[in-house]
């Protein structure tokens, strides 16, 4: 490894003592990054009494151990977890696919003004979502229902008697709307991820395919798409955690309790008047589980998505 050559501390073998110091600092880092989670895990297994008697980061005593808090949290959060999955998985796939197509159109084919479009897209990554929140709720709750009512009752008026109402109060519809919203706002970051990847693909292969008369779409399907599978893994994993973790859009777009997503249900669990921290901690762990699992199994890809 070349890193060992350049490493100043490694090369000074008589300074092993400072290396011990290094490991102590790094272990302290582990304590720092893990203690809230460790406390949460310890707390969720404690009964109310044990909870008051032991320090937060200590494990429960033998008679202070319970699974009741976990049970309660699981029952409260389970519908939210299902809703989150139903909403996040299509949104993630859609934004990754659209991002890939957009990046292809903006990379492999070279035209003037392309960079302008790219700048506009990248700026979309950074906008604070508060700046679109009111129009967004106006769109989904007012404009779209009005449009749909008008359209359906005009075209199918003989069938609906002009009484059809767009089901904006329907939980499933709200979840679909939330999913589409996430797909749209995920598109910029997905495009950026795919674009930096496509820029590294050699032009020669594509040029050769074009000389053979391949259309832009068949080049995408036969060359680009197979090549971008690793990038799809990175994007899907990163984007899934982003969508799954969001609270803001869900708060504004989903007001049917049955359609509430996991983050919403967890806030409801924490916001209660009576606080039983063993239940809320169990809730935090349960709500974190999907992204934690993704992180444990695909940490490398997640880190790649983050670092881009």
């Amino acid at each position: 490894m070349s890193t060992s050559d350049r490493n100043p501390i490694q090369r000074l073998r008589n300074m092993e003592r400072s290396r011990i110091g290094l490991y102590v600092v790094l272990l302290f880092g582990i304590v720092f990054y893990l203690f809230p989670m460790e406390t949460a895990v310890m707390t969720m297994f404690k009964t109310q009494q044990a909870f008051a008697q032991t320090v937060p980061f200590a494990p429960p005593s033998a008679d202070g151990f319970t699974l009741a808090a976990l049970q309660t949290a699981w029952n409260t959060l389970r519908p939210g977890l299902v809703n989150s999955m139903l909403m996040a998985i299509p949104a993630t796939i859609l934004s990754a696919l659209l991002g890939s197509l957009t990046a292809y159109g903006l990379t492999t084919l070279d035209w003037r003004g392309q960079v302008g479009v790219v700048v506009l897209i990248i700026a979309g990554i950074f906008i604070p979502y508060q700046a679109v929140l009111v129009p967004l709720s106006q769109f989904w709750y007012q404009i779209l229902p009005d449009l749909m009512n008008g359209f359906v009752n005009t075209v199918f008026g003989f069938y609906t008697d002009g009484n059809w109402v767009y089901p904006s109060r329907n939980g499933d519809v709200q979840l679909v709307q939330l999913s589409i919203t996430h797909a749209a706002y995920g598109l910029p970051i997905c495009t950026l991820l795919f674009r930096s990847y496509y820029k590294s693909i050699s032009d020669e292969m594509i040029e050769a395919a074009r000389l053979d008369g391949a259309t832009a779409f068949s080049i995408y399907k036969n060359i680009i798409l197979p090549l971008s599978l690793p990038m799809f893994a990175v994007t899907l994993i990163y984007q899934f955690t982003q969508v799954y973790n969001d609270l803001l859009f869900a708060l504004v777009l989903v007001n049917e309790p049955a359609a509430n997503v996991a983050t919403q249900r967890l806030t409801a669990l924490t916001g209660g008047v009576v606080q039983s921290f063993n239940t809320t901690m169990a809730g935090a762990i349960v709500a974190a589980l999907p992204t934690l699992l993704v992180y444990v199994f695909f940490g490398e890809q997640f880190a790649k998505g983050v670092a881009e």
Binding site: T3, P8, L109, W111, L120, I122, I127, G299
Partner: protein, 356 residues
């Protein structure tokens, strides 16, 4: 449709080869089988400039135009709409009156003490969080870069908080900061330091015996910043680590040969080369800070009281709890302008450097 496009493209290709052979950079090259025409690079450029409509634009539009229109509607259309809404007096019921646009909502905002407090909190959060996060991230990255054992394990654990949602981390930290039984206060109690810390942080309170981390104005924002640093310093670490790995070994060697100490080597040679990483990391961190709504919203649920409003939470409260939609829109525009001030120069410099 595809048929037509295909033909158009073929026609374009024929046109190119017919018109541009001579003035282009094509050369006749002798090979085993005789001569062959080698297509020069200049041909593409000259032809592209001479065509009235760029062929590549037409050909690539089906791929990027529909998604861009979708995102453009949701991003730029919505922002424009928000600007309009902020100039109405919309209260959330019925239709906004777009016929009468004025800036009265901004006047209301500027004379609102809560707005200025939220702005101050936002800027403090933005600056302090970003600087400390960068510093910690850089330090950890340098430590991890010392060719240590179990590097992957350390890296994985340090980045782990980043995979959690704001709501989850807020829930955990609400417990950590809990006044009665929280981790911090229990630790202080074990060390017998609780009274000292109380008198240090809040000397004017006579009866206080426990530190109310999230309810005191002196500590609430600092507590939020600390938790956010916990969540995102791993991100800064990953970015700096990539930057460190890109520095050639010779720079370390050269500093060594010159007899620089390790600390001096990092301060004088290595860290200055991490500027690009620092800039890109700080832009993303500031955007996270501007968006810290979820965190404060979830933290608030359990511990009301202290002044923790940032512009993001104030906007939500005003628009969706108090149903003053137009006012909320006006605050959102301020937030948007703040974000522009952060990313505008960054995007411009990236554009100038040809990185986009």
């Amino acid at each position: 449709m595809r048929e037509i496009l295909n033909r158009l493209r073929k026609a374009g290709d024929t046109l190119r080869s017919a018109t541009s052979r001579e003035e282009s950079g094509d050369r006749q090259v002798a090979t085993d089988g005789g001569t062959e025409t080698v297509v020069g690079d200049r041909r593409r450029d000259t032809l592209r400039d001479s065509l009235p409509v760029q062929w590549e634009l037409i050909e690539s539009a089906p791929f990027w135009l529909p998604p861009v229109l979708l995102a453009g509607f949701f991003v730029y259309g919505a922002i424009f709409w928000n600007v309009l809404l902020s100039m109405t007096d919309f209260q959330g019921l019925g239709e906004p009156n777009y016929g009468q646009l004025d800036l009265s909502m901004y006047a209301t905002m500027l004379s609102d003490g809560a707005f200025w407090q939220a702005t101050q909190n936002t800027i403090v959060l933005l600056v302090v969080f970003t600087i400390l996060c960068l510093a910690l991230g850089m330090l950890v990255a340098i430590l991890i870069d010392q060719n240590i054992r179990f590097e992957n394990t350390f890296r994985t654990i340090y980045l782990l908080p980043m995979s959690l949602s704001f709501v989850v981390t807020a829930t955990m930290w609400a417990w950590v900061y809990n006044a009665k039984n929280g981790v911090f206060n229990q630790l202080l109690r074990l060390l017998n330091l609780e009274g000292v810390v109380v008198s240090l942080l809040k000397p004017e309170t006579v009866n206080a015996t426990v530190v109310q981390w999230l309810s005191w104005n002196t500590t609430a924002l600092a507590a939020v910043i600390f938790a956010l640093i916990w969540q995102f310093s791993g991100y800064a670490m990953v970015v700096f680590l990539a930057g460190l790995r890109a520095i050639p070994d010779e720079h370390y060697e050269a500093a060594r040969v010159d007899g620089a100490s390790t600390v001096r080597m990092y301060l004088r040679v290595i860290i200055p080369q991490l500027r690009a990483s620092a800039v890109s990391a700080s832009v993303v961190l500031m955007v996270f800070a501007l968006k810290a709504f979820d965190f404060i919203y979830a933290l608030r649920g359990s511990q009301p009281g202290a002044n923790l409003d940032i512009l993001a939470t104030m906007m939500y409260r005003v628009a969706f709890s108090s149903l003053r939609w137009a006012y909320g829109s006006a605050i959102a525009i301020v937030l948007f302008v703040l974000a522009l001030l952060v990313i505008g120069p960054y995007l411009y410099s990236e554009y100038k450097r040809g990185q986009l």
